[in-house]
Structures are given as structure tokens and as C-alpha cells.
């Protein structure tokens, strides 16, 4: 490894340590405030940005949904909030331990761990909700607290990373060594990105196509890192996409099925979801959706299937979303509604299994430059 790489690695682990300290400090200051309240005979309380629909607004500059200014007061004196207040305190306490010990856990883990502390979450959705509360209070994604979702997407390509998780600190890995790709989990998300020869990131909606792309050596042929989002991209994957874009300066393109859900998968990667309006680190505003477009269906004479009632309803819903008011976003929705038909990525197989990588992809990559 070159000297340059060596120093980059040092800087990277320093950065990771700093980040951890920041988070621990922040949690501590929250804890101290609650502590002082109790000690002085007061019911502790804090305010939290309101996540009600009326407080979710679209920010044109940031090109994503964010929370507005209204906040809600959470008070432990209010018995209807007391339980969730305690749950949130526990979560902060637990996240503090996780961060301290550099241990990761899943959403499901959190639900079960709570039971050891007499914190009774009724079901996982209740505990998931409290996790979102913690994110909203701290404006940090749960991954910063070492809490990860179960869904795994994967990555393949020439990218060197260096682990920061305990037991692997300093260890490096090249992500093109294993043809099935690498699961994007906690260790990958927290790893430092060292270097890469790739010039573009291709995010693709489906595992099957991901495997095809690896087989067809799309990574080499097009100097790319391939990421399988596994449908709607999990937040860890979106974080990684953002880091690849921001830290490695790689453009990101997105390939989805040719339907309204595919279009929205691309949009969420680009500008986030209303569900995560309380977080700002999850978007890749420069990401480009390159297909499959509704217009491609006609252009490439793809075999189609009819849209369902819910597909159509979804189109109309999205037409109300400010992000769909112009450009291809608007145009493609209109064409979907006109065709009332949709096509999957696999539809290209009609013209041969490699048609998508040989013909379609190059055309789209070319096109992306002008988007």
C-alpha cells in the first residue's frame, strides 16, 4: 500500500473516533438534563420535532422532505406519555451502551433487549417508533447508534474499505473478491472508504439482475460499483450511496423496474422519503434514474403486464408530490398512466439474456451524462 493510502487510513480512523465521541457527548448531555430535572424534584421533559403530516414540508433547496418548525413537548408528568418517555430514555441508555462498546444491533434486537429492563414494548412497531423518536431528537440516523435494519442489500466492485468495528479495526477488504457481492451491514456501513478505481455507481433494484451484472462483468466493462438495493433501498444502503457519491465523488445511476414503484425507488434514493423527513444525511440529490422508463416500454418494445388498481392509484398519489411536478418524473408518470402497462427489468431477456447489459445499459449510461 502506498504512503498516501496509509495516511488516508489514519485520518479515517481518527474521524471514526471523533464521530463516536460526538455521539457519546450528545447522549450524555441529554442524560444530564433529565438527571438534573429529577434531582431538583421536577418531572423531566424535552421537546421533539413534530412528525405529524402537517409538519412535513418539501425543501426545494435541499431537494428533500424535511420537518418544519413545530415541536411537541414530551413530559414524563403526562401519564399518557410517561411510558413512551421511559422507553425513549431506555433507548438512549441502550444506544449509549452500543456506541460505547461498538456493538451493533438490529431493530428486532432492540425490541427483545428492552424486555430485560422491564420496558415493555407491545410489539416491534412500537419500538421502531421510539427509535425514530431518538433519531428526531438527536437528528442522527439510527445507524449512528449502531442500530440496523434486518434487510440486507449488497455491493460488488473494486472498492477498498477499512473496518472500524471492534475486532476488525484496521483490516482492509476489496469488495470485488467475492462474486456474490457483500452484504451491506453494520461493518460495511461504518467502514472507511479508502479508494476505488470505479467511475460510477450503478444501483439496481433486483438481486437477479445484480447477479447478471456481476457475471457480465459490468463492474469492469463500465468501471462501476454495482449495488443491489433489494427493492426500496434500506437506509444503510442509502447512506453508503451517499458516501460513495460525497466521499469518492462517484456519480450514481439507478435502474429499476419499469413501473411506478420503480420510479419511486429511484426518487427515495435521490431525495429521501417523507418517513425520514427528520434526517438529512440520507439523500443523493445528484443520483439519476435512467430506467426502465415508461417511454422505454414503447421504445424497446418490451413485453408488458397491465397495471393494477393500486399501481394506478399510486400514480395519482405521486402526481400530488411536489417532486413529481417536472422533468422526467412528471413525464414518465403521465406515460405510465397513458399506457396502463408496466415492464420489469427482466423483460429485456426477450431479446437475449445479455441484451440488457450489452445494449440497454450502454445506451442509458451514455444518456445519463446528459441528464
Amino acid at each position: 500500500m502506498s504512503k498516501n493510502v496509509e495516511s488516508k487510513k489514519k485520518a479515517a480512523s481518527k474521524k471514526a473516533l471523533e464521530k463516536q465521541k460526538n455521539i457519546l457527548d450528545m447522549l450524555k448531555s441529554h442524560g444530564a438534563k433529565i438527571y438534573d430535572d429529577l434531582d431538583s424534584g421536577q418531572f423531566p421533559k424535552f421537546s421533539i420535532p413534530s412528525r405529524s403530516v402537517s409538519n412535513i414540508v418539501y425543501d426545494k433547496k435541499l431537494r428533500q422532505y424535511i420537518l418544519g418548525n413545530s415541536t411537541a413537548l414530551r413530559s414524563s408528568k403526562n401519564t399518557s406519555q410517561l411510558r413512551s418517555f421511559t422507553q425513549l430514555m431506555w433507548l438512549a441508555f441502550f444506544a449509549n451502551r452500543l456506541t460505547n462498546e461498538k456493538k451493533s444491533s438490529t431493530l428486532r434486537d432492540i425490541y427483545y433487549s428492552s424486555q430485560a429492563f422491564a420496558i415493555d414494548f407491545e410489539d416491534q412497531s412500537e419500538s421502531d417508533n421510539i427509535i425514530v423518536d431518538l433519531e428526531a431528537v438527536t437528528s442522527r440516523p439510527r445507524e449512528d447508534f449502531h442500530i440496523f435494519p434486518e434487510e440486507r442489500s449488497s455491493i460488488f466492485g473494486d472498492l477498498n474499505i477499512e473496518y472500524t468495528i471492534p475486532g476488525y479495526e484496521g483490516k482492509t477488504m476489496n469488495l470485488s473478491n467475492h462474486p456474490d457481492g457483500y452484504a451491506i451491514g453494520p461493518s460495511l456501513t461504518t467502514a472507511e472508504l479508502v479508494d476505488t478505481s470505479a467511475e460510477i455507481v450503478i444501483a439496481i433494484e433486483k438481486g437477479g439482475l445484480f447477479t447478471r451484472f456481476v457475471e457480465e462483468q459490468v463492474d469492469k466493462k463500465f468501471k462501476s460499483i454495482i449495488i443491489n438495493t433489494g427493492g426500496q433501498a434500506p437506509r444503510s444502503t442509502r447512506t453508503l450511496l451517499k458516501r460513495l457519491h460525497d466521499e469518492m465523488k462517484l456519480p450514481v445511476i439507478i435502474l429499476t423496474d419499469g413501473d411506478v414503484y420503480g420510479e419511486h425507488i429511484a426518487m427515495v434514493i435521490k431525495s429521501g422519503s417523507a418517513n425520514a423527513a427528520h434526517l438529512r444525511e440520507l439523500t443523493v440529490p445528484d443520483a439519476k434514474w435512467v430506467g426502465v422508463w415508461a417511454t422505454d416500454i414503447e421504445k424497446y418494445k418490451l413485453p408488458t403486464i397491465p397495471m393494477t388498481e393500486s399501481d394506478i392509484k399510486r400514480c395519482y398519489d405521486l402526481q400530488k408530490d411536489p417532486r413529481y411536478l417536472d422533468g422526467i418524473w412528471k413525464k414518465e408518470l403521465e406515460v405510465f398512466l397513458r399506457l396502463k402497462r408496466k415492464a420489469e427489468l427482466e423483460a429485456f431477456s426477450k431479446y437475449g439474456l445479455t441484451n440488457i447489459t450489452d445494449k440497454y445499459l450502454p445506451q442509458k449510461l451514455e444518456l445519463a451524462k446528459s441528464l
Binding site: 442524560g31 433529565i34 429529577l38 423531566p44 414524563s76 430514555m89 431506555w90
Partner: protein, 572 residues
């Protein structure tokens, strides 16, 4: 049972009622013959009246206007008749009025003649007063048992001063001991109210107010002599008249009429004995009589100026309208009577006997329309009273909350009525939702509840407004007392929705529901405070634990302060 309770009520005796139902042959399957016996500790019935009371239809001693359970004089006979039709067995009645001798009858009914047939009659020595009736009848206890048990249960609820036992055919015993030892105030017998009368009632009352021309026989003459103090010797006509004038004030109406007749006939007792009065023709002022001596009809003139003439016409033509009203109706004074006469377009001194059918109809009509009569007198009613009702309900349900109310008397169409109600909540009440016990004149109404006015009023109420949401363990007892309950059907099971009754029911329920909601509120607040304190006690220590580690402290914060404060608030 109702008869026994009525009988005890009327004599102020604390009732002991024993009901027994026994299968004649327990091995047989239902329906089968049973022997039903009701025994009471009431006054009994005089021996000679027993066959009549139980062997004829429409024998009732309760015809005066006052509230009693029985009204028609049908109940006992019908039950006996049912037994007789289904099993062809006689009824056994044992009655003792003096706690020494008991008259025991075995009776059948002769339906055609409405007459009792006495099969056996004997007398026995006993130690207790009272009456017992045994009927053999065909029945299906497996089906009817629930209703019978309900009936006994509810009867004892509304008769807390009675001790009632029921021994059922399966050998089960249902004892309901006396809950209070004082009898509620007995009702008084009163005259009818003008609003509650119709043409037929007026006709009947008129007959009572007109006097028959007395038959002049030996017995009557003997009585007149005695009353005049002239028993021994024969006296001349003038002597008799003189004596009568002196004693006039002390004479009965009957005797006065005889004297008046004698004054026109100008006869002494001896002559009077030989004639029969045929007619008194008031308009023509003539008195017709039959002379047994020469077997001819004769007449004498009557002098309209004579005071005796007035005596006779009064008798014949009945009372004046005002006298009739004040004497025959409740709460009508002379002034009201005169006002009414004017309202109805009659002369106040118009005599009832001279009214045509049309005039009678007009009279009856006007009685309904005249607004100035006072409300009917409720003293004839026998509500249970708030205290006994409350005590009874308390013993029955041992509730967490109980309230009762007796509304003041009101009236519909001239019939007075009183509504009394109670609401019990929680405690031993295990049923969910509102359970209603309906009573009319202390009789449980078990059937046909759907169309009853009480149910209607209860259902119309928005109970959630009174904090009784969902299916509260709530019992409502409703007792309507009236000299005439407006039943919807002949079965006497549901009360019609008369506006006046509906109003009283509604006011009673609303009154009680308000009290209930106060109770529920208080209870809710206490519960909420307790719940709050529990929640704090559970969660605050956890918050303390978590923030201690978060803040990097060793010692937990002193959170006891806020817990204690909360406890103080709760205890306030």
C-alpha cells in the same frame, strides 16, 4: 301469592308466604300434573265466604278505589279453573280466621252456573291464622321454572317486608327472608276522580244515589214504630205525624220516606199495612197505591207546598248535581261543583234522576273537560316508599352505588299514579348491561318487556352522558302504582306509554342518573389518581436508572420528591 300479600296488607300483617310446587309423580316427564300450594298468614276468609271467593268468577272484596295487587276478582278462580280443566281435580282451601279452627273445603267449579260445588267440608283445630290453597294442575316445570323463580325473586325484591319461601319440584329451596320489619303505610279507600269516570260509571253511581221506594211490610212498619218510639200501642194518624215532626232530625232517610208517604195517604199503621205503593208521579203530583182490601188501584193528590213532598221528590229524582259531585267524587267542594255546573250548562240544583241520556253524556263529557278539578288524591296508592325500596335493593344487590326516588303523585285521565324507582351499580351485580325489574302495583312484570314504556324511557336515555358507558353492571327497579295501570294488553304485562307516566319515569331516571354520574365521576377520579400514582411509581425509577448511566453519574437522582408529591395530590 298476590292474594295472600293483599290480604296481609289490608290487615297490617307482616306476610309469611310459602309456595310449594310438587310433582304428583316425579318419575313422569314434563308436562305432568303438579300440586301447587300457597299458604299465607293473613286474616283468612270467613268460612261461609270461602266457596264464593274461590268458586265464583268476579267475587272480589277489593272493589273500592284503592291500589291492591288484585283488581278483578278473577285471579284465584282462574287458577283453580285451570287446574280443574287440566287435571279434573278439586281445589283444597284451608282457612282460619281465628287461629283456633280451620275450615277445609274441597271445591269444584260449576262453570255454567258460575257456582261452587262443595265436595267436602270439615273443620280442624289449628294454631295459626291464614289461608292455604292447593291446586292440582298440569304444567311443565322444566320450561316454566325460570319464570316462576324470577317471579318469586322479584316479588320478594318489591316486598321487602314479606318473608317468602319457595320449594320447587326438584327439592330446591328458595328462601327470601324478611328484610324490613315495618309495613309501608296502607292506602285508603277513596271516591273516584271526575276525570276517571265515564257515562257507565256515572249511571252506576246514580243508581246508588237514588233511593228505592221502601217496600212497606211488617218488618218495615215495625222499624218505623220503633224509631218513633211508638212500638207498643196503636196511634192515630195525627199522633204519628206529631211524633215524627218532633223526632225528624233523628230519623233515617228510609223512615222519613215512609212518614212522607203516610202524610199524603193520611193513614195510620193499621191501614198502611193493607196497601202497596205503586208509583210516585212527581210531575202530576199524584201518589198511586194498591189497596189489598178491595183489590183496586187508587191515587191521592200531593201538595207541592208540603215539606213531605220535597222529601219524596228528592228520593225519586236523586240528588242535585252539586250534591252528587261533592258527595260522590273526591276533591270536589261546593264552589267547584257550582262552577262546574255553570261550565257544563246545568243548573246546580238539577237532579240527576231527571237527566236524559243525552244530558248524562254531556255531563260525563264535561267532567273530562273541566280544568278546575284538583288533581286526584293519591292516598289510595301504596308505593313501597323510598326507605323500604332502598333497603330491599341493598340486601339484594349489595351494590357499590344505590339511589332510589319516589316521585310525587301525578295523574293520567283522572287516575292517580306514583312512580318509584331505584338504581344500583356494581357490588354483587354480575350481569352486564342494564337489567330492568319492572313492577306495577307490587307485581313483577315478567313478560313482553319489549313494548313497555319503562324500557322505552330507559333505552331513550343516553347513558354514556351519565358516565355509564359500555355494559355497566346496572340494575334499575321501576315500580308504577296506580288505581288503574294502563296495560297495553290483556295479559297485564306491559305498561302503555301514557305521556304523563312517561314524563314521571323520565324525571325519576334522570334524577337518579345524575347521582350515578356524580358517583362514577368520583370513582373515576379516584381510580385515575391511583392509576397515575402507580404509573409514576413504575416508570420514574426506571427513568432515573437510565439517565444516571447516560449522564455518567454514580448516584441516582433523588426522584422520591416527585413521587411523594403525587401521593399527596392523590390523597387530597
Amino acid at each position: 301469592m298476590e292474594n295472600g300479600l293483599d290480604a296481609c296488607d289490608s290487615k297490617g300483617i307482616l306476610p309469611d308466604i310459602h309456595l310449594t310446587i310438587k310433582a304428583v309423580d316425579p318419575e313422569k316427564s314434563d308436562p305432568k300434573p303438579y300440586i301447587l300450594t300457597v299458604k299465607d298468614n293473613g286474616p283468612g276468609i270467613e268460612s261461609k265466604h270461602v266457596p264464593l271467593a274461590f268458586g265464583t268468577v268476579l267475587y272480589g272484596s277489593k272493589f273500592g278505589l284503592k291500589q291492591a295487587r288484585g283488581m278483578f276478582g278473577l285471579g284465584a278462580t282462574m287458577a283453580i279453573l285451570y287446574g280443574q280443566i287440566t287435571t279434573n281435580k278439586p281445589v283444597t282451601v284451608k282457612s282460619s280466621t281465628d287461629a283456633k279452627k280451620s275450615d277445609e273445603y274441597e271445591l269444584l267449579l260449576d262453570i255454567q252456573k258460575n257456582k261452587p260445588v262443595i265436595l267436602k267440608h270439615k273443620t280442624k283445630d289449628v294454631a295459626k291464622k291464614g289461608l292455604s290453597v292447593s291446586i292440582c294442575l298440569e304444567g311443565d316445570y322444566s320450561k316454566a321454572g325460570t319464570k316462576i323463580r324470577d317471579y318469586v325473586y322479584q316479588t320478594s325484591l318489591i316486598t321487602p317486608y314479606a318473608s317468602i319461601t319457595f320449594d320447587d319440584p326438584k327439592g330446591e329451596k328458595y328462601p327470601y327472608p324478611r328484610m324490613i320489619n315495618s309495613m309501608p303505610k296502607p292506602p285508603t279507600i277513596i271516591r273516584p276522580h271526575p276525570y276517571g269516570t265515564d257515562v257507565e260509571t256515572i249511571r252506576r253511581m246514580m243508581v246508588e244515589s237514588q233511593f228505592e221506594i221502601p217496600t212497606i211490610d211488617d218488618a218495615m212498619i215495625e222499624k218505623v214504630r220503633k224509631d218513633l218510639g211508638l212500638a207498643k200501642k196503636n196511634f192515630s194518624f195525627t199522633a204519628i205525624m206529631e211524633k215524627a215532626k218532633k223526632r225528624w232530625k233523628t230519623l233515617s232517610r228510609q223512615v222519613r220516606v215512609i212518614i212522607a208517604l203516610m202524610s199524603f195517604l193520611k193513614m195510620d199503621f193499621e191501614k198502611l199495612n193493607k196497601i202497596r205503593i205503586e208509583d210516585i208521579d212527581v210531575p202530576n203530583k199524584k201518589l198511586f197505591y194498591w189497596d189489598f182490601g178491595d183489590s183496586t188501584s187508587k191515587s191521592v193528590e200531593m201538595d207541592p207546598e208540603s215539606q213531605y213532598y220535597k222529601q219524596l221528590t228528592n228520593t225519586i229524582q236523586g240528588e242535585t248535581l252539586t250534591a252528587f259531585l261533592t258527595k260522590k267524587f273526591q276533591r270536589v267542594g261546593p264552589t267547584t261543583a257550582v262552577k262546574f255546573a255553570e261550565f257544563a250548562g246545568f243548573k246546580p240544583e238539577k237532579r240527576l234522576g231527571t237527566m236524559t241520556n243525552q244530558e248524562l253524556a254531556k255531563l260525563s263529557d264535561s267532567l273530562q273537560k273541566f280544568d278546575d278539578f284538583m288533581g286526584p288524591d293519591p292516598s289510595c296508592l301504596a308505593p313501597l316508599g323510598e326507605e323500604p325500596l332502598e333497603k330491599g335493593m341493598k340486601k339484594f344487590f349489595n351494590p357499590d352505588f344505590l339511589t332510589v326516588i319516589q316521585r310525587s303523585a301525578s295523574a293520567y285521565s283522572g287516575f292517580p299514579f306514583v312512580v318509584e324507582m331505584g338504581i344500583a351499580y356494581g357490588g354483587d351485580i354480575s350481569t352486564r348491561g342494564i337489567k330492568v325489574y319492572r313492577f306495577a302495583n307490587r307485581i313483577p312484570l315478567l313478560y313482553d318487556e319489549g313494548s313497555d314504556v319503562v324500557l322505552k324511557v330507559i333505552n331513550d336515555i343516553d347513558w354514556s352522558r351519565y358516565k355509564a358507558k359500555g355494559d355497566p353492571p346496572l340494575v334499575i327497579v321501576s315500580h308504577i302504582c296506580s288505581t288503574r295501570i294502563p296495560y297495553k294488553t290483556a295479559g297485564k304485562e306491559n305498561v302503555a306509554d301514557r305521556q304523563e307516566i312517561e314524563r314521571e319515569l323520565k324525571l325519576a331516571i334522570q334524577f337518579m342518573a345524575r347521582k350515578l354520574s356524580v358517583f362514577m365521576n368520583k370513582r373515576g377520579q379516584a381510580e385515575a389518581a391511583k392509576k397515575r400514582a402507580n404509573l409514576y411509581a413504575k416508570y420514574v425509577p426506571l427513568i432515573a436508572q437510565f439517565c444516571t448511566e447516560l449522564a455518567g453519574k454514580k448516584k441516582e437522582p433523588n426522584f422520591q420528591k416527585i413521587l411523594q408529591e403525587e401521593e399527596l395530590i392523590e390523597n387530597e
